[in-house]
Symmetry: C2
Subunit: 707 residues, 2 copies
Amino acid sequence: MNTNNWQLSAPGVWRLTIREPKAITPLSWMEVSPKEEALQQMPQVKPPFDWDSIQLEEAGESLILSFPLDRTEKLYGTGLQLLRMNQRGRNRYLRVNSDPKQDTGETHAPVPFYVSDLGYGVWVDTSRIVTIYCGSTLKQEDTHSEAIRDRNTDRGWIATPVASRVEIRIPAEGAHVYLFGGPTLADVVSRYNLFGGGGVLPPKWGLGFWHRVPTMYNEQQVLEEAEQFRLHDVPCDVIGLEPGWHSHSYPVTYEWEKSRFPKPGQFVEKLAQKGFRVNLWEHPFVSPNSEMYADLQPLSGSHTVWGGLAPDYSLTEAASLYKKQHEEQHVDIGVSGYKLDECDGSELTNNSWMFPGHAKFPSGLDGEQMRQMYGLMFQKMTADLFRSKNRRTYGLVRASNAAASTMPYVLYSDLYDHKQFIRALCNSSFSGLLWTPEVRRARNAEDWVRRMQTVCFSPLAMLNAWGDGTKPWSFPEVEEVVRHYIKLRMRLLPYLYTAFAKYREQGIPPFQAMPFVMSPSEIAAAEAKLVEAEQQMLNTTDAAYGKKKVREWDDQFMVGDALLIAPLVEGETEREVLLPVGIWYGLETGERYTGGCIVRVQAGLERIPVFVKSGAVIPMMPSLPHVPASGTQVPLELVHFGTEPGEGLLYDDDGETFNYEDGTCSWRKLTVTQHADGQYAGELTGNSEEWTSYRGVTWRFSQTRLA
Amino acid sequence: MNTNNWQLSAPGVWRLTIREPKAITPLSWMEVSPKEEALQQMPQVKPPFDWDSIQLEEAGESLILSFPLDRTEKLYGTGLQLLRMNQRGRNRYLRVNSDPKQDTGETHAPVPFYVSDLGYGVWVDTSRIVTIYCGSTLKQEDTHSEAIRDRNTDRGWIATPVASRVEIRIPAEGAHVYLFGGPTLADVVSRYNLFGGGGVLPPKWGLGFWHRVPTMYNEQQVLEEAEQFRLHDVPCDVIGLEPGWHSHSYPVTYEWEKSRFPKPGQFVEKLAQKGFRVNLWEHPFVSPNSEMYADLQPLSGSHTVWGGLAPDYSLTEAASLYKKQHEEQHVDIGVSGYKLDECDGSELTNNSWMFPGHAKFPSGLDGEQMRQMYGLMFQKMTADLFRSKNRRTYGLVRASNAAASTMPYVLYSDLYDHKQFIRALCNSSFSGLLWTPEVRRARNAEDWVRRMQTVCFSPLAMLNAWGDGTKPWSFPEVEEVVRHYIKLRMRLLPYLYTAFAKYREQGIPPFQAMPFVMSPSEIAAAEAKLVEAEQQMLNTTDAAYGKKKVREWDDQFMVGDALLIAPLVEGETEREVLLPVGIWYGLETGERYTGGCIVRVQAGLERIPVFVKSGAVIPMMPSLPHVPASGTQVPLELVHFGTEPGEGLLYDDDGETFNYEDGTCSWRKLTVTQHADGQYAGELTGNSEEWTSYRGVTWRFSQTRLA
């Protein structure tokens, strides 16, 4: 079988077509085009492999595509993995699953794209389930007996002698496979994102604080709860409505329940006047009580869910019905976006919460394909709808897949492990995804604060009180700390928004795991400096032969290029932090650190450890009750850290429309220089004529901590 | 597609052949023949369905076979399910999995056979993964809008409107499907077991107490540990050796490690002299250090595990190599059997602990098939080996499948939830499987006693100290209780052995879940008498819409036909027990209960609630340090309970060989009558000429509790 028929598809991107892939894939569905210009500007790169080293062989109906693997190579990505960062040694069974409690690869967003720390990436573009054996398999001919250890006597025994290949199970119908060059891991991911159309730029209000009210709340309750945010001096931009806003749920009508929301338009308007946007929860399965039911019935799958239809939105007619209803009843009265729930059920764990894999859809898609694509379908339909109004949206979705980086949606999960939620934030950066470690209930004030601190440094800062009715002030003893970080998030809006603009234009994720900013050798060098020897864990019954703990640095991440966040979870008062080379300051402590090593930091409940790079210039604004409307100008504060000269960027536009695509936006450079007399000077250059939201600039130089 | 081509395959058993099934299946591999004579003696039964109500339709490459489902019908079986008993409403993805922590259907023994409480069963005989949608799917045409509830407002909302069909995903290559008639659930299971050759009759010593010593123990340590059992007056029949007895493990050699066991033959003989049998742990993956390696290499799969070969034992040549080595090095020196570990890895959760599904084997089998069949292969090879010596074996295995009821193997798991372990005991009875709720470590003395009590009423009473070195006397404060139940097990040996003989001859499981002995209406009637209303559980965040708790009675079971066991777990001092109609006595309390209802019983740590049916006659023997060798005669005690006349059975044979197949065995009837003067008389009838292990009979009449 000829595997060498790789074609250059875009700069640094090669494509192999295996058999005859079906037309509908994430790439075809999303209708995105590579950002050719930005790809052109990336480093020239050669293919990372000898083409001959790539093998394709038949295995029953399927095909196995395999790539060589270096001894110490690490593999990241494969979507929203909650349970580990380095996927080396694992089988990743990339099926959508709303309840990914075991480390099988299944997840809300099972993206069949992985990136190597050696600087290349592989993506299988298909609507079917892909299994990637990330060096977890070993063929006879690659098994060298000298590498085999005896578990009886060898404490260093590991289950797999080091595997020499990644094996990928390609669906029987074939697929397009893409290979992305680097040279660095960060370059690979940027290429992947740019190939999928670049990253999303959310509306500015989307980066404010979000609050979801309990189920079955009525209009009056929502308005009162919103008012409480203003009274408590806690910024809030978005109020999310949960089940109960529409007349029937599970299955769903998409229609307002008049007993609870008699005048939806006025309700949305009342909230708008107070600076709140409304986000509506929904799910895919259509109730017989929906006005659309009869029209959707012949356009739906063979199986129902909770008795509701599973429409085939790959059909234009079905999509049009959905969009028209949503346009008239939600978007046109001012609703800002959606929370797209329940589109990620798995046959394995969800049972009747999803149609089966053998369900048949009128378009010819089957249940497996529809499940893998459903999250993308809803993202695309709703995003298109808002775009047709020249309004940006930002919302939540529980299922995604590849080629989704342009989508204004943030993933979330019903799993609620804080450490997993932080890891998901790290991991989403490898796969063109955004993730919110949303806060719900808390075990106690400590848990509450730690979760709130984390979420304020994430793509979507949200309290989801749907089931428990918590508020930011639910734990009075720590209310001030929570308020502080929600306000800090708003102060950082200009910085955060700029990071997203880089995502859009250059494909650089606004939130990044550590391998984006440290090479394998830099990480190894930093770890080598750690004085404490690695511990050998031995639990005789659970793991009688002992296990070596490997630190993955999956609990800290970059926000933009200047801030490093190292959250703590309940029970912790200190932690290790992997600091990249250079001088860093504790953003709020002013403590000075020399990077390129692992530092141990303490932080009481009042602090989340945030580090700022020396020389960084961070654009900030005042903390307001909500993000100001387009056209409102606010003061700009430019904060320079450390003693070195430095620079930063400031992106701006109207924050609400797509007018930036026509150039109604501005990129400005923030430059700090030091004069001979030791004094610093700041310069703001670039064209602000196109757009600015700021009036008055205050420079602060050589800071060691945020005032 | 014609689905009506069902053929009568055996009395009350119909077969449908779909497409062209591959030759190797559990049935073909096990080489079992239906016990025609016993099947003939079962009630005449008509097919449970109109053939027309069964549908077969194509779904992509697969086929969906579906059966009608009654509104309140319950479905049991599908192998060793650890997480629920009634599978109604669940998708059962029947893939072998050593780590079945989520309720997907995956398990150590994923048997594609289910039985309905309406009295029929369905089995798909295939070496491939089968998915059974147990009323968890609903097609559009079967969805009736009046059945749809609104989760917003309806507390009784459930995810699935009642489904009207079971859908079974048949592998693309087709399969043989068998339909078993009843009329009762118990009849269905007996038919299934008889169709697979009947149940296993273990050697008597197999029903004694087992102890597995820690890994890496040497000969001297094992002998000393065995001696401790005698010194502590704790019966023990089998000593199991764990990793360390052979020269290399993970991968494995199957060869004795001479530094720890310099003279294996003498070692086994020394233990035999003290009444101990030796059981050897092993797993499938062959080390390069094994003498067989070079010969097995060309007969093995494409992929290695821990660097070891995965031999293709469907090839006679490979099986012969394995058997010859085991015969010479283990069986011929007196080893009594095996613990067959690690043959149940799953691609999803185990990663490199198993070859991938796309692995290729010389016979043409692929990894999926080999994984599903591997447990059966090892059971069959070792069972055949012992049979060739006219010696019975009894051992442990971690993977099984269908048609395994003749196999002298008991399933176990590394999971360790006591409630799940009790449920597995119940569930194994539906699928022709045996299960041990083995005891390992304990959290405390209470946990210890409760687990020990349970395991003493199971198919294999074992302490598995491989990882933690616990002993029956590890918690001195409860040592006496533990000793009491281990001894009680031995006293009950004649009763237990007779129950197994019924398994062998009539296919009646020796351990049975409640649906075997109570019809759906009897269970419903008993539940209706429960005064306490069922509780509505409401956890607003985890299950915001509320959940109705349904009691499955998956925590109590019958041993034979006269004893009902209702274990307690740590933290419990009382529990509800579903008692079948009739009069029952607390076996050790003498308390009298009227059945046909739910009773609440208290039991301190010193007691596990065991109920004996009034009128039962229980054959017992003295508690000895170990089961006596064939030919040794022991006193027999026949204990009659209650005031009614009654009867029981006593089976006997040499307990060690297969001579019973030639009639060297005895079935005797135990009859208690009451004379006019109120005195009871007992009669032991039947031919004991063929075999008896007993001398002297003591009758005890009208007991209410065991002395």
